[in-house]
Amino acid sequence: MPRGQTWGGKYKRRHRGIAQAAGGGRARAQLSLTGAWTRPDSAAARMLRWLIGGGREPPGLAEKSPLQTVGEEQTQNPYTELLVLKAHHDIVRFLVQLDNYRFASAGDDGLVVVWNAQTGEKLLELSGHTQKITAIITFPSLESCEEKNQLILTASADRTVIVWDSDTGRQVRRVSCFQSTVKCLIVLQRLDVWLSGGNDLCVWNRKLDLLCKTSHLSDTGISTLVEIPKNCVVAAVGKELIIFKLVAPTDGSPKWDILEVKRLLDHKDNILSLVNVSDLSFVTGSHVGELIIWDVLDWTVQAYERNFWDPSPQLDTQQEIKLCQKQNDISIHHFTCDEENVFAAVGRGLYVYNLQMKCVIACQKTAHDSNVLHIAKLPNRQLISCSEDGSVRIWELREKQQLAAEPVPTGFFNMWGFGRVNKQASQPVKKQQENATSCSLELIGDLIGHSSSVEMFLYFEDHGLVTCSADHLIILWKNGERESGLRSLKLFQKLEENGDLYLAV
């Protein structure tokens, strides 16, 4: 979708709002520069349509219109200060938190940069990779280990993995014996080993000795790795999930070994996301919108929600809930979860799936103008999402008061899934859906700064939010009021240091 149009629309809408707010006393709000994009719908009507599901809208409009917007007045948005950090020369794809105040960023320019999240100061620049970085992970230090410093592992398309010292920026070790690009890294802290996943899966110890490896798995390679109990890891390889068991050396066999235990073939399309939900389950999402919750111990399907996100075009019966038409729009890019819910970034939308109720309790079908790339749940029932459209949005999960009474016991997806729902049934179904979404995601603020797709973000409790983007920039978003207070504090500290502070008698 052309972004300009959307923005223009937003712009326009805002001005209408302004004009209304300003009242007749002011000149009529008509900024000449917005003249290019005028669209004659009112924000209120759109909001209403969005609330009732957009069912009666013509398909073309339905795609664009449900984008919720928030005005310029965002009282709940705490981020009123920003700092642009520039060090990268290409898309910045990864952010990883090192400790309470530091984070590292990595991108397509092969650079890894360590930043101070408080001041925005560039602490270290780690250059060693010749091609784009494909994975980054931190390796926490062990007390027992002589190397006290925290390590950063980076994998790159140049088929190397480099281990960095995060305090000094020193390149500790470098492995370059890979047959293929390492696409994911995982650290099993319990065993003090790390695994690299490319076309095969390798197990390494801290000193970068290759302990063992699997045979060649596939040409597409492992896209994601997740640790599960019993020394097992789950690897997403194309449409398959493969469970590997890691055999630590014992008295009997002094060697490490890795065994393929099981292949799970339930997904119809490539698995894009794989996340541990809790001690009991993990969740996977695929390109065609399948969400499967697996038992972490016996690897069985706990819940399988597929069709909600799979409205095949021929199923006209589901026109009412036309979420998205294109495959891309229903692919599940990212998950985040808390104790109760799994939050899924599905295409341009956000869905909240309740684990207990096994149903979607809230959704925002068009949360962004473009695909949502990363989401995270904040402690205060807030959800942050970033998207290819260059914006970051802050949502709040709110309970719908009037509907709190009757949760739907069974996953309503199933009812939809097999095409039994016909046009006649659509009305009650929709009601049901409304009932089901017992919560709502309310947009409470958006952060506009990046001019290109926001790849990822990192939330610091104390220092705010860090976003990285394809426009080569990293932006540090901060709570202006808190920063102001901190600065005052520092100011008086400095005054005291300089001996310029006297106590009033």
């Binding site: 520069l33 506009i448 202006g480 400095k494």
Partner: protein, 934 residues
């Protein structure tokens, strides 16, 4: 005779001070006579009264050994400037007071000619007939071909206002010292080069002679030498001797104390330049001797010539031009420095002083002054110094009255400061100042002697005792040619960079001897000087004893300031000489007691009153304070060693102060400005201050005018200005670059600075804006283009609309948040009676200063930001802040945001470790915007 009294209105003399302000009828004797030159101009400032020249200028003269005193060039080089003023005559006047210790030749007990690195002398003299007063800075340059190897020059700042010269003496002295040092550095370089060439010549000659002698020896084997052979041998011997002498001279010139160079800080550009050269030549870390040597030895290859036994007829010889003497590069820099001086001292004295005070006070506001003042710091070092030494007012020359009125936050009193209070010792306090002060000075005088200061005295003593009317007639050495020749060598001066500065002068060739000094007596009548006038000067004079005989016509007073610790090294040999010059006794001797009352220290015999203006010292605190300032730099800072602080600081002060000069200046010709910029390009310290200040000054007036226009024209000026003050980027959108730029410049006076350097203003952008731009710039001129490219520009603008206010010049609309405060209406009242741009600018400045002080209070109120008890809730703190802003500072609505924003800037500025490194963050609010239309 001094004609000053007749132009002195009672503007600032102490005598008139007691006059009650509201006295309805002025006593007859105090009534100001009508301006006598009213016919020449409408206001007293338009034309400098009585003078034959239209405004101040700088004159460089030489006492040529061939033609006597002659003017070389003036700055500005414009005949209109000095009009009918007789430069020749005045050159004669100013050169005749040179008494420099140009002591070259064979001093007793020394085998070889000795170069003496003399200090420049600085005198003030006046000529009431011409209506001219001048600060005269004498210096000596070395020239191998000149008599005694020296060429006396002088630079004079000529003004019709005597007070101006007196009051600005320190500044003038400092600035001219820079220029002089620049010349002298170049001269040393050139001289060394000349010596080297000469040595090569001599060497070659020796070889030739030697061969000839050998041939002769062989040719005659009879055992005795022919007279011819003896002659040859003699010649050879004399060449040998000459070589040794020249080598010695070369050694001397090279051994010019590097420390002195370093400490002098006179032309940092040159110093850097020479250091660069050093670095190129060798990477030795030793900055002293080798460096200097390198500096002088790096010369292009030179083919030696045979030197004839007999020197050429000196009359035929062409003397080197000033440019040749000083190396073109240095000469150009000097000219740039001089035109800088000329710029600096333009305008009326009151104006200079006021702006001086202004600057000084502003400097004290070092926490807030960066916000709205375009405060050009000349040098980082100075900034540091400024910070390390609590800012002191004592460098300023404003009347102490006004200084006392200003509260000075930090007055540092140090006991150790007495150590270097030599200067004050030499100052004879005015009787008027009262016995108390007098005593105090006396105490200082007697109490502050230590060997160190003895040296200082010696330094002065030496200069003084050697100098006399004869000093020009320095004994020639063997090599020096003794006959003068008719020459107009100076007429070929050309400067590549600045055409206006060089002046070729047709010289009237007069033979001038030392008698010329007698010629100078012009206005013999002493009685014309009212006594009270004379007495009104706090004169601190150290006079030359030996000069007393000659100064019938033109008396000069030495600026009795001797740089502490200067010359310790080179004058160590004279340590035993008793220091005799004492201010009191010297004055006693000088006043011949005829007409001058003994109590009048201002020694005024004839036409000249030259009183080096000294700082008023009315209380001890002040005095001590001042002394501290002189000690600190020299003792603490190596680079300042050798020169007292006043030579460093006032210049910097002035350089920045120069900002305010041109607005008064009617002659501000852009050409001279441009050329000075061009020529100073290599001199960073100079040009940076220069260009920035001057351009900003020019803009000030225009900006004020345009801002005024904007306010009158646009009813929504208030919210626009509010946007700027609260740190919300204002984008001025328009098609016409000139219009946009003009408005951006105008509005930039409302933009708070992040730091001390440049304002966050971008005058013209044509590419789409980016988030970085909003972080960096607070006022942006944006091009609107009628093409598809415009779409992306506007799109970006729309996207980032929450960070910006948009002023659309083409459609006359403004989109920005609502403003309901009371501050901006006062700042920008469209019905204001202010008409002039500069006035409005000042109005804005004063309002903003007030605002700054509010922000300062808010920022530094401890209890507003830090809870006295840890338990206190944040809400309480917030409410306390709110009530402080509202009740104590009287801010309403959006005004609070302005102060809060300024407070954030203050905090950032205060906390940043090194100036200029602050990382500006973008602060914004989620507030709705409104669209305003005309």
């Amino acid at each position: 005779m001094i004609s000053a009294p007749d132009v002195v209105a009672f503007t600032k003399e102490d005598d008139y001070e007691e006059e009650p302000y509201n006295e309805p009828a002025l006593p007859e004797e105090y009534s100001v006579p009508l301006f006598p030159f009213a016919t020449q101009g409408a206001n007293p400032w338009s034309k400098l009264s009585g003078a034959k020249f239209s405004r101040d200028f700088i004159l460089i003269s030489e006492f040529s050994e061939q033609v006597g005193p002659q003017p070389l060039l003036t700055i500005p080089n414009d005949t209109k400037v000095f009009g009918t003023f007789d430069l020749n005559y005045f050159s004669l006047r100013i050169m005749s007071v040179d008494y420099q210790a140009s002591f070259v030749g064979h001093p007793p007990g020394s085998a070889y000619p000795k170069l003496n690195f003399v200090e420049d002398s600085k005198v003030v003299l006046g000529d009431s007939k011409e209506g001219a007063f001048a600060y005269v800075h004498h210096l000596t340059l070395y020239d191998l071909e000149a008599r005694g190897f020296v060429r006396p020059f002088c630079m004079a700042y000529i003004s019709a206002d005597q007070h101006k010269i007196m009051q600005q003496f320190q500044e003038l002295s400092a600035e001219f010292s820079k220029a002089s040092e620049c010349l002298k550095t170049g001269n040393r370089k050139a001289f060394a080069g000349e010596l080297e060439k000469k040595l090569k010549d001599l060497d070659y000659t020796r070889t030739v002679l030697h061969t000839e002698t050998e041939i002769q020896k062989k040719a005659n084997d009879r055992g005795f030498y022919s007279s011819q052979a003896i002659e040859k041998a003699n010649e050879l011997a004399s060449v040998e001797k000459s070589i040794i002498e020249h080598q010695d001279l070369l050694k001397q010139i090279r051994s010019y104390p590097h420390r002195k160079l370093k400490g002098s800080d006179l032309c940092s550009g040159e110093m850097e330049h020479s250091r660069d050269q050093v670095n190129q030549a060798s990477t030795t870390s030793n900055p002293d001797e080798p460096a200097d040597t390198d500096l002088y030895t790096r010369r292009p290859a030179y083919t030696p010539k045979l030197i004839k036994a007999k020197p050429t007829k000196c009359f035929d010889k062409k003397l080197k031009t000033l440019e040749e003497l000083c190396d073109t590069e240095y000469f150009t820099q000097t000219l740039a420095q001089l035109s800088h001086i000329e710029h600096m001292f333009r305008g009326d004295l009151c104006y200079l002083l006021t702006s001086h005070i202004d600057r000084a006070l502003l400097k004290q506001q070092h926490i807030t002054n960066f916000l709205f003042e375009d405060f050009v710091e000349v040098d980082d070092r100075v900034v540091e110094k400024q910070e390390s030494i609590p800012s002191k007012p004592s460098q300023d020359r404003p009347p102490s009255r006004s200084l006392e009125e200003c509260p000075i936050p930090k007055v540092l009193i140090s006991v150790g400061s007495y150590k270097s209070s030599v200067e004050s010792v030499l100052i004879k306090m005015e009787q008027e100042l009262g016995d108390e002060e007098y005593k105090e000075v006396e105490v200082t005088e007697s109490g502050s002697f230590d060997p160190q200061e003895n040296l200082d005295y010696l330094d002065m003593d030496m200069k003084g005792s050697i100098s006399s009317g004869e000093s020009i007639e320095v004994l020639g050495t063997e090599k020096s040619t003794s006959v003068l020749s008719k020459s107009d060598s100076q007429s070929s001066l050309t400067v590549p960079l600045s055409p206006q500065v060089v002046r070729s002068k047709a010289v009237s060739h007069r033979t001038i001897s030392e008698d010329s000094i007698e010629v100078l007596s012009t206005c013999p009548s002493e009685a014309l000087i009212p006594d009270d006038f004379k007495a009104s000067y706090p004169s601190a004079i150290n006079e030359e004893e030996s000069y007393a005989d000659d100064n019938e016509g033109a008396i000069h007073f030495r600026a009795s300031i001797s740089p502490p610790e200067l010359g310790e090294a080179e004058e160590g040999s004279l340590e035993d000489t008793p220091s005799q010059i004492d201010s009191s006794c010297c004055i006693g001797k000088e006043s011949d007691g005829q007409l001058v009352p003994l109590s009048t220290p201002a020694h005024t015999e004839d036409s000249v009153v030259s009183i080096p203006p000294q700082r008023y010292r009315q209380d001890q605190e002040f005095h001590v304070d001042f002394a501290v300032e002189n000690t600190n730099p020299s003792s603490r800072d190596n680079s300042c060693e050798g020169f007292p602080a006043y030579e460093l600081d006032p210049s910097h002060l002035l350089a920045s102060r120069d900002v305010s000069k041109t607005s008064l200046d009617n002659y501000s010709d852009s050409t001279s400005y441009m050329s000075s910029i061009a020529s100073t390009s290599s001199d960073r310290a100079l040009s940076s201050a220069h260009s920035a200040s001057l351009s900003s000054e020019r803009h000030k007036k225009r900006a004020g005018q345009n801002a005024l226009k904007f306010i009158r024209q646009y009813p929504f000026a208030h919210p626009a200005i509010y946007s700027l003050l609260s740190g919300r980027t204002l984008v001025v959108l328009g098609e016409d670059e000139a219009i946009v730029r003009k408005l951006v410049t105008a509005l930039s006076i409302f933009v708070p600075n992040y730091g001390r350097y440049a304002k966050p203003v971008k005058h013209w952008v044509s590419s789409p804006l980016h988030i970085m731009d909003f972080q960096k710039w607070k006022l942006i001129g944006l091009q609107r283009v009628a093409s598809p490219a415009n779409a992306s520009t506007l799109h970006a603008l729309g996207r980032y609309s929450r960070y910006t206010s948009i002023l659309d010049l083409d459609n006359k609309t403004l989109r920005c948040p609502l403003y309901r405060g009371t501050l901006v209406p006062r700042l920008a009242d469209h019905r204001t009676q202010i008409k002039r741009g500069s006035t409005y600018y000042l109005h804005v400045q004063s309002m903003l200063t007030q605002l700054c002080s509010k922000a300062f209070l808010y920022t530094f109120c401890h209890h507003l930001h830090l809870p006295p008890h840890d338990k206190e809730a944040e809400e309480l703190l917030a409410s306390r802040q709110a009530s402080f802003l509202k009740l104590n500072l009287g801010l309403v609505n959006e005004d609070i945001r302005v102060v809060q924003y300024l407070a954030e800037l203050l905090k950032l500025h205060y906390m940043q470790e090194s100036p200029g490194t602050s990382r500006p963050m973008l602060r914004f609010d989620y507030v709705p915007s409104f669209l305003y239309k005309i």
